[in-house]
């Protein structure tokens, strides 16, 4: 199989899996790399094998799609047309004329270097959760909505007895129902968006019978568990000394300000909070790929503007797993054809392309409805820590803006250190942008993850590169 052109797919979530299966079935050798121990990504996250879950699918819809992908990957691995490298933490993709080197770190400490050479790369790096700060958000007991869901899917358990789920976005529904199903009392689902605005989007929704059914199912589950939904509400503050004891929520007016006098205290020990998702674009940005706002720009074949680099899934724009599957399939087919020296015929993936069009419209509709309160920064007191890595407060960011002339995220970072720490601003950049009153723009992060200087100093090759596939 070594005479086949070689495609490296980065990320084993829905987009990466669909791409791997599609490309391997069409004449290229695929190496699928992912940092997790199992394929599936965040969406198809499953309990560790040692937990022996009997019905992991209880936490997932669309389990059959996952089984089909998993079986497809297994078939190609057995046939030698694909290999799956788990626990590979990729820190850099290096571009050479006509080829690429994917640099990864292995091992529990992520310090053993591996280099994988490929003729092309397909970025399916997914997205990560956006969380905006509020007073008390750093208290133990406050978790991200996605983090709560990952805990449920991965360990089948959550700590906490009484939870509030808050923020904005479609992820809050499955988190609330998942927590309730796991036996946690969900005291409220606090959504800052207006569901009526959603109904106004009937055009986009009418074309999405599947999505409507999904929404109806969540609504029924919320009712069954007696979860109160507070729309056009927001968490104003988390209370507690050692850990979270309660939250104050308040109603929002039409302009996104807090309605005076509507604050109420809800006792809880867990707050799962999220404000949507952002794409992971570090590898693409460093490769020189064009970004449109925060998303990797791709053409109809899912090609980036850098020759030999494809992208699919959340990294090209947040749109959910079904969209990621369609994009991954198209990307895999296109890469396979191009690597074998022929122009692909888009009719080969016409069905996936129709799904993609439909789901991108749906994602755009969701995007226009689910948004944090327009004036969320008003709740952020000066002593609220914004950048947790460097312990920078909102007051420090405001001072940099008002007194020192910082009008953008980069200058605010230079003047306050917000975003200079371990997470490199992945967590705090949206908050800093909000406080600085500017648009969030992608940051340059040449290292997608920290790399030991000893690894950087040496050129490394590794046996996996000469594998039998």
């Amino acid at each position: 199989m070594t005479d086949r052109p070689h495609l490296a797919v980065i990320g084993a979530g829905p987009a990466g899996l669909a791409a791997t299966v599609a490309a391997a079935a069409h004449g290229v050798r695929v190496t699928l790399l992912d940092s997790a121990a199992q394929a599936g990504g965040q969406f198809y996250r499953r309990p560790a094998a040692e937990l022996r879950a009997h019905r992991p699918q209880a936490l997932h819809h669309d389990w059959r799609t996952w089984e089909r992908l998993r079986d497809g990957l297994d078939t190609h691995v057995k046939a030698g047309t694909a290999r799956h490298l788990t626990d590979h933490h990729i820190w850099f993709v290096e571009r050479h004329p006509g080829r690429f080197t994917v640099h990864a770190l292995l091992g529990p400490e992520q310090e053993d270097p591996v280099a994988v050479h490929a003729d092309a790369v397909l970025l399916a790096t997914g997205g990560y959760e956006k969380v905006l700060p509020f007073p008390g958000w750093t208290l133990p007991g406050v978790v991200t909505a996605g983090g709560a869901q990952a805990m449920l899917k991965g360990t089948l358990a959550v700590s906490g007895r009484i939870a509030v789920v808050a923020g904005t976005g479609p992820l809050l529904l499955p988190v609330a129902t998942g927590l309730a199903a796991a036996g946690v009392e969900v005291a409220a689902l606090v959504e800052s968006a207006d569901p009526k605005a959603f109904v106004r989007r009937t055009l986009a929704l009418a074309a999405q019978p599947g999505k409507l059914a999904e929404g109806a199912r969540y609504a029924a589950q919320l009712a069954r568990h007696r979860v109160r939904t507070l729309a056009r509400h927001t968490v104003v503050e988390g209370h507690g000394t050692e850990r979270l004891e309660a939250v104050t929520v308040a109603a929002l007016d039409g302009a996104g300000h807090i309605r005076p006098g509507t604050g109420r205290r809800i006792p809880c020990d867990t707050l799962a909070v999220g404000h949507g998702m952002l794409p992971h674009t570090d590898l693409a940005e460093t490769l020189g790929c064009r970004l449109d706002a925060m998303d990797v720009h791709v053409d109809d074949e899912q090609r980036t503007d850098v020759s030999g680099v494809w992208a699919a899934g959340e990294t090209t724009g947040i749109g959910g797993s079904a969209l990621a599957l369609a994009e991954g399939h198209i990307a895999g087919r296109s890469a396979a054809a191009r690597l074998r020296g022929r122009a692909p015929d888009p009719r080969e993936w016409a069905a996936a392309a129709r799904t993609r069009t439909r789901l991108r419209e749906f994602a755009a509709a969701l995007d226009s409805v689910y948004a944090p309160p327009a004036h969320w920064t008003e709740q952020v007191t000066d002593d609220t820590v914004v950048c947790r890595c460097e312990e920078v407060t909102a007051g420090a960011v405001r001072e940099a803006v008002a007194e020192l002339g910082a009008g953008d995220v980069r200058t605010a970072k230079l003047l306050t250190r917000a975003g200079m720490g371990w997470c490199q601003g992945r967590m705090c950049a949206p908050a800093v942008a909000g406080l600085a009153g500017c648009e969030l723009t992608p940051s340059r992060r040449p290292f997608a993850r920290p790399v030991p200087l000893g690894v950087l100093a040496h050129e490394h090759t590794h046996p996996t590169e000469r594998g039998s596939s």
Partner: protein, 372 residues
């Protein structure tokens, strides 16, 4: 940084100052610098004189702004990697001492007393207590604020306005004209463009450098530590990639690792060879760094001049135009002296240093290099 210092000293000399920048504060090379205030890497001559004046002025400013700009008189340690290079270092230090630099030879155990984590077996070093550091973006922002100058960021100068006789009467920006009898070109690496708008010529070229930043650590590196070959690289005219290890701890915890130099225009793309060379050099000096993680890296463009001296002072070809740019990698350190000298020139005082070596019209109209 240079613009901020010019604004501060001009304003303190009684002038009404407006700062115009097409980007934010510290948006150019300043934001990508390490904030070195060095005398150690300079041979006796006009640049060293400027550095000594500047260090004195920085120490003065530190009295009022020290903590806010993270001023730290940490001292520099230039390490010899062979007995031969130690002799050369000592010879260099003798000349520097004559020019007013404090330079102490340290050998053997004394070196490891200064920097306990250096690689074993190094023959010695020269310690320069006058070398200092500031956090450059904070320094620029606080100097701008202290100057009281009006600050117009996000505003691009599109033309330098001149009278029929050629004297400057202001600048045109993308958001209106600003009328002034004196324009200071502190556009750093982009200084040649501003000179061109005024119809004159200044050969500033970009020389790219990368900096590696590690995870935050307790203080492991106490001084600015670099290998003796750094001095030769700074003085070199080569366009090819050169790297010599420069390692320093910061008040905030991360260790900064430089310094690469290459002339590749304004190409911001990430260079793996440059970063590998930086990491290799740093881990040779400090072996413990091999297990320390780099968390980010950034590129900056030093304003390179063919003779490695900045342009400071009035441009006789365009009355009313003053230059304060082309400091290559020493712009933060030399900013205070430059600002002070510019303010003296603007107010028709005799400058503290002879500006003849820095005169902006010392170059032929076009160097062959720029046309290629």
């Amino acid at each position: 940084m240079t613009g901020a210092a010019c604004a501060l000293y001009a304003s303190r000399a009684g002038l009404d100052v407006i700062i115009v920048d097409r980007g934010p504060v510290a948006g150019g090379t300043t934001g990508a610098g390490e904030g070195n205030l060095l005398v150690s890497d300079k041979e006796p001559g006009p640049e060293l004189d400027l550095a000594l004046l500047s260090n004195h002025l920085w120490a003065e400013l530190a009295q009022e702004l020290g903590a806010a700009i993270e001023y730290e008189a940490k001292g520099g340690v230039v390490v010899a990697t062979s007995p031969g290079s130690l002799i050369a270092l000592e010879r260099f230090a003798v000349e520097q001492r004559a020019a007013g630099v404090v330079a102490e030879l340290v050998a053997g155990d004394a070196l490891y007393g200064l920097e306990p984590h250096l690689a074993p077996g190094l023959p010695g070093a020269v310690h320069y207590p006058q070398d200092s550091q500031v956090m450059p973006a904070l320094a620029a922002a606080h100097l701008v604020r202290a100057s009281g100058a009006r600050l117009f960021t996000g505003r691009t100068v599109t033309d330098v306005l001149r009278r029929a006789d050629g004297t400057v009467r202001g600048v045109r920006t993308d958001n209106g004209d600003i009328h002034t009898p004196a324009v200071v070109n502190a556009a750093g690496t982009w200084g040649a463009d501003l000179a061109a708008l005024a119809g004159t010529h200044l050969p500033v070229l970009p020389r790219r450098g990368f900096v590696l930043v590690t995870e935050p650590l307790p203080r492991m590196v106490h001084h600015k530590v670099y290998a003796a070959d750094y001095v030769a690289d700074v003085a070199s005219d080569s366009a090819a990639l050169q790297t010599s290890p420069v390692v320093e701890g910061t008040a905030a915890g991360p260790i900064l690792i430089g310094a690469s130099r290459e002339r590749v225009g304004f190409d911001r793309s990430f260079s793996m060879p440059a970063l590998r060379a930086l990491a290799a050099g740093a881990t040779r000096l400090f072996p413990f760094l091999a297990d320390v993680r780099a968390i980010r890296s950034y590129a900056g463009f030093r304003p390179y001049m063919p003779d490695h001296l900045p342009a400071i002072g009035a441009d006789p070809r365009v009355p009313g135009l003053f230059h304060a740019c082309g400091h290559e990698g020493a712009g933060i350190g030399l900013a205070t002296g430059t600002g002070h000298l510019i303010a003296q020139t603007l107010t028709a005082k005799t400058p503290d240093l002879d500006l003849h070596p820095f005169r902006p019209d010392r170059f032929p109209d076009r160097s062959p290099e720029e046309t290629t």
